[in-house]
Amino acid sequence: MKLKIAVCVALAVLLQTNLRLVWSPLVHLDLPLIVVTYFALRRDVVQALIVGFAAGLATDFFSKGLLGANGFSKTLIAYLIAALVTRVMLDNPLARIPVLAGAVALDAALIVLLHRLLSQPSLVPFAETAAYKMIATTVAGTFIFYMFDIFFSDRARQRRHFAFRRRAARRSLVRR
């Protein structure tokens, strides 16, 4: 399970560095943030923090911005979502959409604020870029969450675990 999560994070970061090469507007899609939000919604706080830290730092390695800015932002967002999900029922797919939109807005605001606080050149235009990012990430994230549910949900894991037993039971019935 941990290996699957690590592969997911690595794939998200690698795809993110290549989206612009395919079609430049795809840069507004934040795949690492989608992965972080998904694992933060699974009610494992420590796992969410580690995923947020790793995904954010990996993004920073390939970006021109401050090293640690994305790591800080995504770690904090993972903690806030994991804390929220213990108090509010967010298993409904529709309920995840505003959570994802809020995560995108907070991520953009945090990164811009951190750069301003550390006297880096300002990142403009903020409103337009953040709006495009929110739309693209929320729409794509909704579909990606559905795909992740197929691979990572407990029900799917149980189904795979018992699939062998079901096949064996069917074969023994046929022989009789």
Binding site: V13, L14, L15, Q16, T17, N18, L19, R20, L21, V22, W23, S24, V27, H28, P32, D44, V45, V46, L49, I50, G52, F53, G56, L57, T59, D60, F61, F62, S63, K64, G65, L66, L67, G68, A69, N70, G71, F72, T75, L76, Y79, A82, A83, T86, I111, V112, L114, L118, S119, Q120, P121, L123, V124, P125, E128, T129, Y132, K133
Partner: protein, 300 residues
């Protein structure tokens, strides 16, 4: 024997994990922000160097995948008309795709070679293997580094025009800040260098891929369609390299400069191969330390 923790214990430890991870990020940010000499990119460029083989594979696979899906649409339309022809054409299309990619790459490399021969510059040809994953910055990673002679602040071009400059170097990779990034700039002139006085500087302008040319005197004659070239006075780009073409122009006056928007001549959204110019700008002569009147008095 594995230690099992209750949910309550995990939730109690979570704030400690949060503080520790945020602390690490804050330390990295403060080190990254404080170091102005260029060493701040050390961790980043070494991480990029380690990841560059995987990046190269991934960018190749992504490009092939995008091309594959584009062709799949046209193949589906053909498949409804004739199933047999689609099967036979599938093999032919694969060979054709490979040949077209090789031809496009050949044309780009030939353009870079012509540029090198005509310009007389020593160049290192490199391939773009990744773009900045963040929407706030515009940079790319290339697959050549200090082992090929590349140094910081060297200009990067295609045969069509300037692309940007090197901002970080590892032994096998380098990071290039594109000219369309708002933090990039270059000295430029509208028209021919030496013949025109419409000099200014170009820098990135928002996310529409245009450049903003500033400080051009409102008294100079500029019109839409004029070509913009580098002046060589910014200690980065040699003189005479193509920057782009004037696409929007608002007339200035004696007291206010023109407002000029330039479309870059290099196709920055579809960079494949680029050339790094192994160019070192001529050293500037230091200003005189004594005034003429002081030296005359000393002689007397």
């Amino acid at each position: 024997m594995a230690v099992t923790r209750t949910q309550k214990e995990i939730r109690q430890r979570a704030p400690l994990w949060l503080l520790a991870l945020l602390g690490v990020n804050l330390v990295l940010m403060s080190v990254s922000a404080r170091d102005e000499s260029g060493h701040k990119r050390l961790i980043q460029v070494w991480a990029q160097a380690v990841a560059s083989p995987v990046q190269s594979l991934f960018s190749g696979a992504t490009g092939a995948g995008a091309g594959f899906f584009q062709h799949l649409g046209s193949l589906n339309r053909a498949a409804t008309e004739n199933e047999d022809l689609r099967r036979r054409l599938a093999d032919t299309e694969t060979e054709l795709r490979s040949a077209q990619m090789a031809r496009d790459e050949n044309e780009r490399l030939r353009g870079l070679l012509d540029f090198r021969e005509k310009g007389g510059y020593q160049t290192v040809t490199a391939r773009v293997i990744a773009r900045d994953p963040s929407e706030w910055f515009d940079s790319v990673m290339i697959n050549r580094g200090s082992s090929s002679g590349i140094e910081k602040d060297m200009p990067v071009v295609t045969h069509e025009g300037i692309v940007g400059r090197i901002i970080g170097v590892s032994p096998v990779t380098a990071q290039v800040l594109l000219i369309t990034d708002e933090r990039a700039a270059a000295g430029a002139v509208v028209g021919q260098l030496g013949a025109s006085q419409a000099m200014g500087s170009v820098r990135g302008y928002g996310s529409n891929g245009l450049l903003d040319m500033r400080y051009v005197s409102g008294l100079e004659v500029v019109k839409q369609g004029d070509l913009v070239v580098t002046t060589g006075q910014d200690s980065i780009y040699p003189a005479g390299l193509s920057v782009g073409q004037v696409v929007e122009f608002k007339q200035g006056s004696a007291t206010s400069p023109h407002e000029i928007k330039v479309k870059p001549s290099a196709r920055l959204n579809s960079l494949g191969e680029v050339a790094v110019l192994l160019y070192h700008p001529p050293p500037r002569t230091p200003p005189p330390t004594t005034t003429p009147s002081n030296t005359d008095r000393e002689r007397k």
